[in-house]
């Protein structure tokens, strides 16, 4: 793909103000001081910035921030989706084959520890001790992120269980094991980590308070053999959980954006910028943040796709003709294949295509559809849960790796305070 097309597409979507903020956040530099002139057209600003950053191999900093920005504006799956695909196709490093967070954290920690091993004059120590707030903020956000990842996994498993049982009951099939779902609901209702409650400014969403799950689990236990009532309760529980997860994911998405490792470098006393390790430290901090944004973005994209999958599943289940479903099914199909391509090591693309081809053939060959196609879609959805869990587990691993920063930071602060 010609790169000019990509620059032009980005320029079409972003305003000057957006571009300036993105470049500052991703590189720490004022765009007009380093990369281009204010009079340049937007397309040209982007081209010059990316070309200059590409020389040391840092172009992915800006590109990932652009992708993240588009997603945070609700542009994913809409007009921003096309631009995002163009970016990834032209610059695969932005989302494909990302570096390991664990490795980047190790590199960063080594550099931090190395710098702090250097004997420090008392003046510098005092300078650092007077600015502990930013260090504490980084620690708090890392802890919250780690707790979020673990809790999200629990919620996701409950979501799958609710969806599975609700689908069985809606289609008048037997659903043994509702007790275990009720137990899972109780576990989630009481399991929200305190770190999440204290960190985010927003209140729990109305209608999405997971404490409600306890009430529903009790009702589920007394529903007995009334499968209609049980299906209704599961549907309500699913909606509450989905809203809660949307709220939580949004809070985390913003939280990661706000997770700023820059204090690790900017709060260091001025003299330390002359140390030979300082340049590597700057590089490490920006690399880590960029990779983290890319990871959380991919995590969000898969979650959004699961939501879309839920809708299409319900549409497949209702009476319709193949043409009616096309406009919902085809974009979803294309999106999943695209997401699968972002993980070449997992070989999901072929599997995604195989399931989708079967459904395509059915839609193409039939003028009216029966339950078979809904069953085929359900099979496809079951398969998708594998990649979803894998992505979720990968993100959880990333968050645990970040947690490694926590201890050394505390130790450094304690050392400095001596």
């Amino acid at each position: 793909m010609p790169l000019d097309d990509v620059y032009s597409a980005i320029g079409n979507l972003l305003k000057d103000n957006d571009i300036e903020k993105i470049v500052l956040a991703s590189t720490g530099n004022d765009i007009y001081n380093v990369y281009c002139a204010p009079s340049d057209p937007r397309e040209e600003k982007i081209r010059k910035t990316i070309e200059k950053l590409a020389k040391p191999g840092n172009d992915r900093w800006v590109l990932t921030y652009i992708l993240f920005y588009l997603a945070s504006q609700g542009q994913y799956g809409q007009s921003g989706d096309k631009v995002s695909r163009k970016i990834v196709e032209a610059f695969p490093k932005s989302l494909i084959e990302l570096p390991s967070i664990a490795d980047q954290v190790d590199t960063l920690l080594n550099l931090v520890l190395e710098i702090f091993k250097i004997p420090m004059p008392l003046r510098q120590k005092l300078e650092l001790i007077t600015k502990p707030a930013s260090f504490v903020e980084v620690e708090k956000r890392i802890v919250a992120l780690r707790d979020y990842a673990a809790f999200h996994e629990t919620c996701l498993l409950l979501m799958f269980a609710l969806d599975y049982f609700e689908n069985l009951l809606a289609n008048h099939r037997e659903a043994p094991g509702l007790d275990s779902v009720a137990r899972q609901m109780d576990q989630v209702a009481q399991g929200e980590p305190a770190s999440l409650k204290t960190l985010w400014a927003e209140e729990n969403p109305p209608g999405g308070s997971i404490a409600e799950l306890a009430r529903l689990s009790a009702a589920l236990r007394t529903a007995g053999g009334d499968s209609g009532k049980a299906a209704q309760l599961l549907d309500e529980a699913q909606r509450i959980l989905r809203i809660y997860l949307l709220w939580l994911n949004r809070a985390i998405f913003r939280g990661v954006d706000a997770l700023d490792f820059v204090p690790l470098i900017s709060d260091l006393p001025g003299d330390m910028e002359n140390l030979p390790q300082f340049t590597d430290l700057v590089q490490g901090v920006r690399d880590l943040k960029t990779t983290l944004l890319a990871r959380v973005l991919k995590h969000k994209m898969w979650q959004d796709t699961e939501n879309e999958m839920t809708l299409v599943g319900k549409l497949f289940d209702a009476p319709h003709s193949p043409g009616d479903i096309g406009r919902d099914w085809l974009p979803l199909r294309s999106r999943i294949v695209w997401l699968a391509k972002l993980e070449p090591a997992q070989q999901w693309t072929e599997e995604a295509n195989r399931y989708a081809d079967t459904i395509d053939l059915k839609l193409f060959a039939e003028r009216s559809l029966d339950d078979t196609v809904a069953a085929m879609f359900e099979e496809y959805r079951n398969w998708l849960r594998g990649p979803l869990k894998s992505i979720d587990a990968g993100f959880k691993g990333d968050c645990l790796s970040l947690g490694k920063i926590d201890d050394p930071l505390q130790r450094i602060r304690q050392d400095l305070a001596l």
Binding site: S79, A170, S334
Partner: protein, 610 residues
């Protein structure tokens, strides 16, 4: 249920106005439309998508009052949940937006207003073009699979739905442009040679500027100098290839005595509110032209106009007054004559597929001429006219030959014949091509169950016609291929194609084998407990009536199909012997038609004196 959800319970039904979307189909269409709008709204446009979603959710909740079927409710609630989730992701979403939007409970006293049901849209093209796109991708993107001509335009209506399809359309358009450019290069080789010798850039720049100046001059001269009209149009025609579409609307003088037969080729020109008298634009290419409110010889004694064999696809003749004008053999696919007046106008052999004639005044001479067309492939006809056409029995062999030679039929059938020729022997592609051919014949009512047997050694006869001269042969052959493929496959795709069976049942029904048609419809129904599309249900009802099945059964199916918004078109011709023999069927369809196409109140459309 949470407190909030209880707060969202509906007011008593009598206190609330009718819901905007009263069926799942209407809700789905609105959902699709909102999705489309979201996809087309760039970030930079500063629109407020959150407000649009909030408004949609408010309207959509009320659909619940009309939905009783649990699966329909589940799907409708799924749509609400989806937009709730979309709303949460927008930057402007506040805490209040996290409140779930729940469907109102079903109110058994309410029933959907049939007029609120969305008009059935042709989505089969989406599935078909997407399948072509996937075949093209999987075969390594060979150029031979790409679309050409009008097919590209048809596929473009699905732009943005699927990325593979977008790539396929883009590649087709690029190839089309390349082919056209090659042809142009040959044609204008000498021009290129001269231009390159003289310094291309300077010359072209100067030339283009003078072309624009001349264009303005000639448009002015059309306004001010009735003597120079032919010359002006001739120039504009020659310059059109390099210039944007012309706005020639509201000319002060009528276009009179202009004769540009076979030469006029303009890109979507605007002739709105213009007067035409004694004009000959035969074989002109005026795709997408606008003649809204124009006047074609609509004055006593004015000489008529000739637009015969002109290409006028998607042209707009809304509210035009047209007298003594010939559209014989014209391509009027998707053109619009809504609320126009047609007096002494002829359409013999014109392609009227998907053209619209809602509220059109049609005098007896025009009506006679419309009989020489596949009028039943157009829409919007008044019920009086449909009844009049239905009681005409002049469809003899000559009439059939005439239609068979028409541009529209050739284009429709050509698509299937080409696909058949390109597909591998006994492949799914060949079966689908045969199904396409059968469907075309069934809807046009041509070669349905009987046809002349083609000579096997005649190279001019396409292979598909030799293999299957009639629609019935085509469906049988297609079904045989599908059966064979199913027997080879062991991956759970053993379903018999309901699509082809549905076509076969329609063919049998037209051939007087109603009982056989009913058997097939029931076979389809056994595989799909609720017949998926309202059009199948409609034909099923007619077949049940024709087969002598109990009246309550077919009346229920007929009412259901019409309630779902199905508006018969080709069936009004192909099944007229059944529809117009039974007064209750005729009345039910008539009432549905009048609801869909209410007669507009328009005055001042009396035909001019000859």
């Amino acid at each position: 249920m949470s407190d909030h959800a209880q707060e969202g319970s509906p007011q008593p039904a009598q206190a609330t106005p009718a819901a905007r979307y009263q069926t799942l189909a209407a809700l789905r269409q609105a959902h699709q439309s909102l999705k489309q709008r979201s996809a087309e709204t760039p970030q930079a446009s500063d629109g407020n998508p959150a407000d649009a979603i909030r408004a949609f959710l408010a309207d959509a909740r009320r659909t619940g009052a009309y939905l009783a079927d649990p699966k329909e409710r589940r799907a409708a609630q799924g749509i609400l949940d989806y937009w709730n989730a979309e709303l949460f992701t927008l930057p402007g979403a506040g805490s209040v937006d996290f409140a779930p939007s729940l469907l109102e409970p079903c109110d058994p006293s309410l029933s959907a207003d049939p007029a609120s049901a969305p008009a059935p849209t042709d989505q089969s093209g989406l599935i078909r073009f997407t399948a072509f796109a996937r075949q093209w991708q999987s075969a390594g993107r060979p150029s031979g699979y790409l679309l050409t001509g009008g097919a590209i335009e048809q596929a473009k209506q699905f732009w943005g739905v699927d990325s593979d399809l977008d790539a396929f359309i883009r590649a087709s358009a690029v190839q089309e442009r390349a082919v056209k450019a090659r042809e142009d290069r040959k044609k204008y080789f000498w021009l290129g040679a001269v231009a390159s010798a003289a310094g291309v850039a300077a010359l072209v720049g100067y030339w283009y500027a003078s072309l624009q100046r001349n264009m303005n001059f000639y448009i002015q001269s059309l306004q001010s100098n009735p003597q120079k009209q032919a010359e002006a149009l001739e120039f504009l025609n020659n310059g059109q290839r390099w210039l944007p579409p012309y706005d020639l609307s509201g000319l002060r003088f009528p276009l009179k005595g202009v004769r540009l037969s076979g030469r006029l080729d303009l890109k979507a020109p605007n002739f709105s509110l213009d007067h035409f008298e004694d004009v000959s634009f035969t074989e002109a290419k005026l795709v997408g032209a606008s003649f809204v409110g124009s006047n074609f010889s609509f004055a006593g004694g004015a000489a008529g106009n000739d637009l015969s064999n002109a290409l006028l696809q998607q042209a707009q003749f809304r509210e035009a007054k047209i007298a003594s004008t010939s559209f014989d053999g014209a391509g009027l696919y998707r053109s619009v004559f809504d609320r126009a007046a047609l007096c002494g106008t002829t359409f013999a052999g014109a392609d009227l597929r998907r053209a619209s004639f809602w509220g059109t005044f049609i005098d007896p001479k025009t009506k006679e001429s419309l009989r020489q067309t596949a009028w039943y492939l157009a829409e919007g006809w008044s019920w009086d006219l449909v009844e009049d056409f239905a009681h005409w029995n002049g469809e003899d062999a000559a009439w059939t030959r005439h239609l068979k030679a028409s541009k529209g039929f050739k284009e429709d059938i050509g698509r299937g014949l080409d696909s058949y020729a390109k597909a591998s022997a006994d492949s799914l592609g060949q079966a689908l091509a045969l199904a396409d051919i059968a469907w075309t014949r069934a809807t046009w009512g041509i070669d349905v169950a009987k046809a002349d047997t083609p000579a096997k050694d005649d190279a001019t006869v396409p292979d598909a016609v030799k293999v299957a001269p009639t629609a019935l042969d085509a469906t049988d052959r297609a079904l045989a291929i599908v059966e064979k493929l199913n027997s080879l496959s062991d991956d759970g795709r053993r379903s018999v194609s309901a699509n082809i069976l549905d076509t076969k049942a329609y063919v049998l029904l037209q051939s007087g084998r109603a009982a056989d048609a009913v058997t097939i419809f029931e076979q389809i129904k056994a595989g799909a407990p609720q017949l998926g599309s309202s059009e199948s249900l409609f034909r099923y009802a007619i077949a049940q009536y024709a087969a002598g099945i109990d009246k309550t059964v077919w009346m229920a199916n007929l009412a259901a199909a019409l309630k779902q918004g199905y508006q018969p078109t080709h069936e009004l011709h192909s099944l007229k012997a059944m529809i117009f023999r039974q007064p209750e069927i005729e009345t039910a369809i008539g009432e549905a038609t009048m609801r869909r196409w209410p007669k507009p109140e328009i005055s001042g459309r009396d035909c001019p004196a000859p």
